[in-house]
Subunit: 200 residues, 2 copies
DNA sequence: CGGCCTTTTGCACGATCGTATAATAACGAC
DNA sequence: GTCGTTATTATACGATCGTGCAAAAGGCCG
C-alpha cells in the first residue's frame, strides 16, 4: 500500500509541533473537540505518532498547559522588569501586559478558557493550575509590597487583582464585542490604584 | 425480557428532572463527562427518554443554561429589591448576593464554568450567554446611575464590576482554598465604592 | 550500496458517543 | 375488564473516541 511521504524530525521539533497543535485545537474547537486525530491532523502527522512522544492525550494536554503557562508568566515578568526600578511602574507594567500582545490574543485566551474547563475534572490540570496561580500571586505580592503595602495587605490585593484580570480575560474571550483590551487595561490600572491607596 | 419498573410522570416533572440532572452532571464531570447516558442515569430514566422531551442533548444543555441563568438573575434582582429604596444599599445587596447562598454554591459555580467552556463552540449557548450578560449589565447600570453616575460612566462601571464578580466566581470554583466567599464579597464592595467615588 | 535503528504510518480494537426505533408498560376512557 | 394512547424502556446503529501494534520508510554508519 502506498504511504504518505514523511520526513524525520528532531524530537524537540515534533514535541513542540504537537504542543502548538494542541493549543490551536483547544482554542478553535474547545476541549470537547480536541482529540488525538484533530491534534495530529493539525500537526500534519499520523495519529499514532502522538503516543511516540507523549504518554497519551491527557499527558499532551497537561504538557501544553505547562508550556502556555510558562510563556505567559515569562512575558509578564519580563514586562515588569523592563519597566525600570520604580515600584509602581513595574506593577503597572506587569498588569497591563496582560492586555497587550502576545497575551491579549483571542486564540491564547480561548486556549486558556479551555484549560479552566478541565481544572475541576483532571487532577493533573488542577495541580498545574494550583502551581501557576500560586506563582502568579508570588510574583504580584512583592510588587504590591514594593508600593507600600504590608505583607498582610499584599495577599488579598494580589487575589483581588488576579480576579479582575481573569474576569476581564474571560469576558474578552467569551464576547470581545463588549469592550476592548485597552479599556480592560484601564480598568485594571484603576483597580491597582484603588488597592494601593486604600488597602483591603 | 424483564423490564425495569417505571412510573408515568407529568411532562413538567420529567423535563425539570432532566434539567436538574444535566446541571448536576455538568458540575460533577464537566462538559466532557456530560452525556445522554450520564444525564439519564442521574435522572433515573432510560437514555431514550431524553429525546422524548428534548430535541437532543445540545437542546437540553441550552435549556438548562437558560434555566440556571434565569434563577440566578431572579435571585440577584430580588436581593436588590429587598434592600429597600436607598440606591447604594440596593446596589451593594445586588452585588453581594453573588457570594451568598444559593449563588455561591460550589455546584452552581462548577455548572456555570462548564457553560462558559461551551460558549465559544456552540452558537446556541453563545446566544444565551449574550442575552444573559446584556440583561445583567442592564440590571446593573440603573443601579449605578442611581448612585450618581452618568449613563456614560455607568456602562464601563457595569462591565468592570461584572468582570470582577466573574473573576471571583471563577477562582472560587477552580480553587476554593485561596479565599472565602465572604472575602470575595468584601472585594466586590470595595470595587463598587471605588467605581462610584472616582468613575472610569 | 547494504544493514540497522528509530521515526512514522496505517489500521484494528474495544469502548462510548448521540440518535433512531420497535417492543412494552402504564394509565385513562368507556 | 378491555381497549387505545403514549410515556418509557431496551436495544441497535453508525460515528468517533484513545490506544496498541505490525509494517513501512527515513537517515546514518559501515
Amino acid at each position: 500500500m502506498a504511504r504518505a511521504a514523511s520526513t524525520r524530525e528532531s524530537a524537540d521539533f515534533r514535541r513542540q509541533s504537537l504542543i502548538e497543535a494542541t493549543a490551536a485545537c483547544l482554542a478553535e474547537h474547545g476541549a470537547a473537540g480536541t482529540s488525538v486525530r484533530t491534534i495530529c491532523a493539525r500537526a500534519g502527522v499520523s495519529p499514532g505518532l502522538l503516543r511516540h512522544y507523549f504518554d497519551g492525550i491527557d499527558d499532551l494536554i497537561a504538557v501544553t498547559y505547562r508550556d502556555v503557562t510558562d510563556r505567559v508568566s515569562a512575558t509578564l515578568r519580563e514586562a515588569g522588569e523592563a519597566a525600570g526600578p520604580e515600584p509602581r511602574a513595574r506593577l503597572i507594567a506587569f498588569v497591563t501586559a496582560s492586555f497587550r500582545p502576545p497575551i491579549a490574543d483571542p486564540a491564547l485566551l480561548a486556549t486558556w478558557l479551555a484549560f479552566w474547563s478541565l481544572v475541576k475534572t483532571r487532577p493533573a490540570i488542577a495541580a498545574i493550575h494550583g502551581e501557576t496561580y500560586r506563582g502568579y500571586r508570588e510574583e504580584l505580592e512583592p510588587l504590591l509590597a514594593g508600593c507600600g503595602l504590608t505583607i498582610a495587605q499584599a495577599r488579598p490585593a494580589a487575589i483581588a487583582l488576579t480576579a479582575l484580570v481573569d474576569g476581564l480575560w474571560l469576558e474578552l474571550s467569551l464576547d470581545p464585542s463588549t469592550f476592548t483590551p485597552a479599556e480592560a487595561s484601564a480598568m485594571a490600572v484603576r483597580w491597582v490604584d484603588s488597592l494601593l491607596e486604600r488597602p483591603l
